[in-house]
Amino acid sequence: MLSALLRRELLTPLRRRRMAVFQIGLATLFGLLVVIRWPTGGQVALSGARSQQIFQLFSYGLMATLLLLLPVFPATSIVSEKKSGTLALLLNSPLGPLRIFTAKLLAVLSMAGMILAMSLPAAAACYCMGGLSLYGDMLKVYQLLALVALQYAAIGLLVSSYAQSVDSAVRMTYGIVLSTSLLTLGPSYFFQGTGGTLATLGEALRALSPLSSLPGAGSMGGQGLMAKTDAQGRFLAWSLACTVLASVWTVRRLNHKLFDQSRSAGTMSDDLSLPAQLFRRLFFLVDPQKRSMGIPNFVNPVMAKEFRCRRFGRLHWLLRLVAVCAVLSLGLTYATTAGTFDWGVEMIGGIMVVMQVALIVLIAPSLSAGLISTERELGGWQLLQTTPLSVSRIIGGKLLSALLPLMLVLCATMPGYLVMAYIDPGMWLQVQRVLICLALTALFSMFCSAAVGCLSARTAAATASAYGVLLAISGLPLLIWMGRDAPFGHDAVEASLSFSSIAAAFSVIRMPGFQHYNLIPANWWFLGIGSAASLILLLARTYRLSRPQ
């Protein structure tokens, strides 16, 4: 019975043509990485430095691929079955929760195994170049990758068991993956070389990221060999603990209670007493339980609808998000001026840029990837087609609904930048440039996610591919940057960084490590042209979908 379930879980995604294209593409990409650095002359580098450089990049690329692609499978696994009603059938069968969970987990791990198998020819080529130990280097990396796959598969399944919709499951899982793998590196990077609780906490957080255990990770944060070795042990413990906890939790959740979740309308504020209404008004600013007024005549109805459809898109949630951003940015700036941290203005700017770009990259796909696919999946597109709304009005409303929250988030950090420019008036031009970078990043992220998402008929696929494309564009140039000077030269790194908006913002703010690269205006051109091309694709696709078949 278990094998039947496993076969079904595994074969369904493998039957898709896209999966075959993806696997071939992945194998080609890894192969190319080795080919470009394969020795062409008659001499062989005896030190093995070249193969180690390649392998370092290769392992980072493999980790990035796993982190970008794998979470979508467990994230959608339970919630999509719950939505389609097949989970009820499974729970009603002799298969127990443990078997269902095991089959789903094994299916995700098999998928991860396939992704890793695609990299084996390239890994073998690296090994043939010499300088690498089979057990000391290569096996360790693959062990780490397997551990990461296990951990995020278990977490993804747990999220999926809680999620009420496929896209929220994907969004939440990517959020967890990004925060535990990337954001946990931030504190140790910024507090390196200092002592005290914050530095210790930063070091502890760093161990939670699988990236800290990869070869060469010690040089990233300058933590040294001992710290790296320690990080591997800590990550192993953390990862296994996470897996066991998430697995037990998910198995306990796989029962009839999953379906026992009718959503109450709640008490409407309008039906409460006047003092209670006033209190709620004061507490929420925008009361979510107050009956909405009709959509004003001058407002695009599609935009209003999009805001109302999102649980976290409603105004009271946006206000909370904006307030958190404003408080964080001002807090950081205050900490610097009060002398709490011995950081320069560039460092504060760098932190703010990282946080903002992370927020944009996390929020933009969740807001705009499903603009068309969600309508198609839930049957709303057909209804929209029977209204007199034109394609441009539909798209305009949808894009505005994604743009406004992004702009609010950007504007919320303005006070922080203003204080920064006040501290160091010489930075005013840099602040202006950074803001342009961030605004263009937000626009590009939105247009690109919407364009990539509109190609899929299902929200989960749309959201996952939008995250994949966006994270690849923002993150892959940073992989090349990690191989700066060796194996990649200055020009190659600069050319690749021109595609990354985060790198462009870093270079403008003169963040250490990026100050030697001149990425403006090349990056702005790329973002501008990319946004325009994405908008054209989105309009063309939507126009095609809206025409009678």
Binding site: N297, V299, P301, K305, C309, G380, L383, T386, L389, P548
Partner: protein
Amino acid sequence: MKKKAPPVGSKIQPVLRLEHLTKRYGSFTALNNLTLSLNAGQILGLIGPNGAGKTTTIKILVGLIRPTSGKATIAGVDCVRESQQIKRLVGYMPDKFGVYDNMRVREYLDFFGAAFGMQRDRRTKRIDDVMELTGTEYMKDRFVESLSHGMQQRVGLARTLLHDPKVLILDEPVNGLDPQARIEMRDLLIELARQGKTLLVTSHILPELARICHQVAILTNGTLRAMGTVDEIGRQVNHRRTIEAQLVSADQVPAAAKIIRKCIESKADVVEAPAEATVRFRSALHESEMSDVLAHLMQAGIRVTQFREVQTDLEETFMSFARHQGAAAEKKQAVAGAKSHA
């Protein structure tokens, strides 16, 4: 007693007209030369097995599908060329309810009202009106995704009525409703027809359609097989009438059945029901021949209390079509088999 919308006068012009409508997907013909018309204030029931072409017809009418050939007009407006105008003339309720998560019922209706360009004041009043008409007022604060199927059907109908369309096209409106909700929906559709709306309704629940429709069209394999009132279609389809003989005693049922079998066609169905003391048979005999059957029964000493024709209902008519179609398919297969064998 059947409750129907009032009959329509002969002066009323057809509102909905389909002329030689054909839709092909490659070599597959989904709709074949469909021609029909419907007058204002009438309800047309479109029935047929799955894949008969009902939804294709509906989608052409609401401008979602372009026909391969032929013409479809609503109130003189071409469904393909003037699709923007059609959107205001037609209210379409698909079989799948378009759910928007986290939206309350009133917000849902408000959005569609705004999408049809209704001004806020007018929209607010109109929403109140349609919610009252469809009995959805009590669920105005509930989230759309948490509604039961029956509730969603009602909200869907309220949405369809928002912009006050002339023609309502409803795909399976009573599907999944409980008996009480079904009766309420039926009454609501009759009321809408009484208000002058023209309705095109598809349903698999044929007795429901028979009760409310002025006309019924039967589609199979994309071809219109019959159209008219239920009785007219019954006569078109069933050359054989169903006759029931009610006897005084159940003991005489076998003897009566034996006599009837002798009198009517050799392959005709004769069903004995001793529990009800009846014999039911289907025959194409004329009135005079029927009176001979009765005379034979009387002569044999069978005591008959009633000898009457049983009204054919829509379900039976539809099943006759299915039988005819099955027989035709078998015949075609047999001919093809014989040819290949030869």
